[in-house]
């Protein structure tokens, strides 16, 4: 018998729980019905990350403490998770579709011989069945995916797809488990971890973003955009073609194969509005777009639109907010 537990893998980087974990707990609480939401947390002995997680109101937090978990490899986490899953037989297991989530989850999937859907944009339950909505080819197509005959049902969810909400309505049970076998990964070890003054992280979490497309990338215009970004405290993101520009990389890319962003204000300059781009901006609150083509599809995703030259618009914007 599988239990009625929905598991959320708690992802942490250098001692900080990643926002996607809280987003997943909130979503799991929303869809759980009478299922239990259980967070799985691996931490070193002196950490107390469960305290932060409690605020989001899961039913239970399973804590595994071991100093070797500070720099654990994917396969080590996957085998601990597999052992736990074999004991408790959860109904489903959720990960963030981050680099770590996308690396551990499939390894665990293979161990448990079950289904995994990556990069979901929505989740719901149809009685016991986890219905996973996943975009595919260029986000042009959406699929509903299920694993009818396998448990646990596994999914990873794109960061910033769901909103995290604190919740104090439940008492959170904390269970420490310390009899799992730590299968040390042979022949591989992390020798250094450096936090990045990360571009990708900052556009994903930035409140203000200026996005540049192929229509707005000469050096002069880039300088204007950078100045405006400084003045507004905004981060600069780009469409995929601009990742070839020496100033940018894949980490700065917005869209289906880049970052999903959720700023309060987004200014699109010289961006056509291909679906692969616009899926990345669906969670932006207020969208302003400038394009010289009055038919550009980007206007369909915008609150304010200006048909004209983006460099002129930038110059005027800078003048006005002096």
């Amino acid at each position: 018998m599988t239990s009625q537990e929905i598991w959320v893998y708690a992802e942490k980087h250098v001692g900080i729980i990643q926002p996607v974990t809280y987003q997943l707990i909130t979503k799991a609480n929303e869809i759980a019905g009478d299922k239990k939401v259980v967070v799985i947390l691996f931490e070193s002995e002196d950490q107390k990350l469960e305290e932060a997680i409690k605020e989001y109101g899961p039913d239970e937090i399973i804590v595994v403490k071991d100093n070797r978990l500070e720099n654990a490899m994917d396969s080590e986490i996957a085998s601990l998770m597999a052992e736990l899953a074999e004991r408790r037989q959860p109904n489903s297991i959720l990960f963030g579709a981050t680099v770590v989530g996308r690396s551990i989850a499939p390894r665990l999937q293979a161990k448990l011989n079950t289904g995994l859907t990556s990069d979901c944009l929505d989740l719901s339950f149809d009685s016991d069945l986890l219905v996973q909505t996943k975009p595919s080819y260029g986000d042009n197509i959406m699929c509903e995916i299920i694993s009818p005959n396998h448990r646990p049902q596994m999914a990873s969810v794109r960061p910033n797809t769901f909103e995290a909400k604190k919740s104090s309505s439940k008492t959170v049970e904390v269970t420490e488990i310390n009899d799992l076998t730590f299968k040390e990964a042979a022949r591989v070890k992390i020798i250094e971890e450096t936090p990045l003054i990360s571009k990708s992280d900052s556009i994903a979490n930035a409140d203000r973003v200026i996005a540049l497309g192929r229509g707005s990338i000469d050096d002069k215009e880039l300088a204007l955009a950078e100045e405006l970004a400084r003045k507004l405290g905004a981060k600069i993101g780009v469409t995929r073609p601009l990742t070839d520009h020496p100033r940018f990389s894949g980490e700065d890319q917005i869209g289906q194969s880049g970052n999903t962003i959720a700023p309060k204000i987004l200014i699109n300059l010289g961006i056509h509005g291909a679906v692969q781009y616009t899926t990345g901006i669906e969670n932006a609150e207020l969208v302003i777009s400038v394009n010289k083509d009055s038919e550009a599809p980007i206007f369909n995703y915008s609150d304010f639109s200006y048909v004209g030259n983006s460099a002129d618009f930038l110059k005027e914007f800078l003048k006005v907010i002096q």
């Binding site: 980087h13 250098v14 990643q18 490899m73 994917d74 396969s75 996957a78 680099v99 996308r102 690396s103 989850a105 499939p106 390894r107 079950t114 289904g115 995994l116 990069d119 219905v131 595919s136 080819y137 986000d139 042009n140 197509i141 959406m142 699929c143 509903e144 995916i145 299920i146 694993s147 009818p148 005959n149 960061p159 990964a185 022949r187 591989v188 992390i190 250094e192 971890e193 450096t194 936090p195 990045l196 992280d201 994903a204 894949g250 980490e251 289906q256 194969s257 679906v275 207020l286 302003i288 369909n300 995703y301 915008s302 304010f304 639109s305 004209g308 002129d312 110059k315 005027e316 006005v320």
Partner: protein
């Protein structure tokens, strides 16, 4: 001794106007022109550089319909030595688990492989699952989303793995699985000589009889996931306000609106 490298590559449709089979709900791939998954080119480039450094042999491996040969040919033209296409009706309808299983069995069959390279993800399915699944089935270390790879000796390497907000340096020994980001390198173009040579090479086609595979773990049967429905999302256009006039008039109008909502 030199390195034996396998690079797993996949063919993806060129356009996003794809068709969906109404019965199997899978993408209809045949008939549609295909190209090599862009990240897989970075994986091939990484393999070629390691071979230049240490000597060895690069085998391309792909599972898919017969027209995937085209992509394998392209990889050979970049300078790889050999190619195997895993192709059979029995393999059809595979999800990532069944794909990973067959690829892993083929890698075992090739034997004495030191390093298996993957692209970070395919641009059609976009899952990034296949590399880690294969790695688990081989019971090898995996280093995913790698942006830099340096080899110190023939079988010890350091990789830089890029996460969202940190970077890890990882030391590892072969055999191992590495999945490659586009930041790692600039894939080379095939030279005329290599293109010519590639047509002299035969692509081996393997099916379920060429490999020890469990019939329950391949194709549709070996795939836990089922596509329940597929649709093209319709996006409702936002009600947009066009800012009129010259750029300075437009900006002034915009700022009035933004300030009214306390956004600036």
């Amino acid at each position: 001794m030199s390195l034996k490298i396998v690079v797993c590559i996949k063919q993806v449709p060129v356009s996003n106007n794809l068709k969906i089979d109404p019965v199997t709900k899978n993408l209809v791939r045949s008939g549609e022109a295909g190209v090599m998954n862009p990240y897989d080119k970075n994986a091939i480039e990484a393999a070629l550089r390691l071979k230049e450094e240490w000597g060895g042999e690069i085998t391309l491996l792909s599972m898919g319909p017969p027209d995937f040969e085209m992509t394998l040919r392209q990889g050979l033209a970049m300078g790889c030595d050999d190619a195997v296409l895993l192709s059979s009706r029995q393999f059809g309808g595979a999800d990532t688990l069944a794909t990973g299983y067959v690829l892993a069995q083929a890698i075992k069959e090739l034997g004495n492989v030191d390093l298996v390279l993957f692209g970070r993800q395919s641009v059609d399915a976009d899952t990034s699952q296949v590399g880690p699944i294969v790695s688990e089935f081989l019971d090898w270390p995996q280093i995913t989303f790698v942006s830099e790879l340096h080899s110190h000796t023939k079988n010890s390497m350091t990789a830089t793995r890029l996460l969202e907000n940190m970077q890890q340096k990882i030391e590892f020994q072969l055999p191992a699985v590495v999945t490659v980001r586009s930041e790692m390198n600039e894939p080379r173009y095939p030279t005329p000589r290599n293109i010519q040579q590639s047509y002299k090479k035969t692509i081996r086609i393997w099916d379920e009889n060429s490999l020890p595979v469990d019939a329950d773990r391949i194709g549709l049967k070996g795939s836990p996931t089922v596509v329940r429905s597929v649709w093209a999302p319709e996006k409702e256009a936002k009600a947009t306000t066009f800012l009129k006039g010259s750029a300075d008039e437009a900006v002034r109008e915009l700022l009035i609106q933004l300030r009214a909502t306390n956004l600036l």
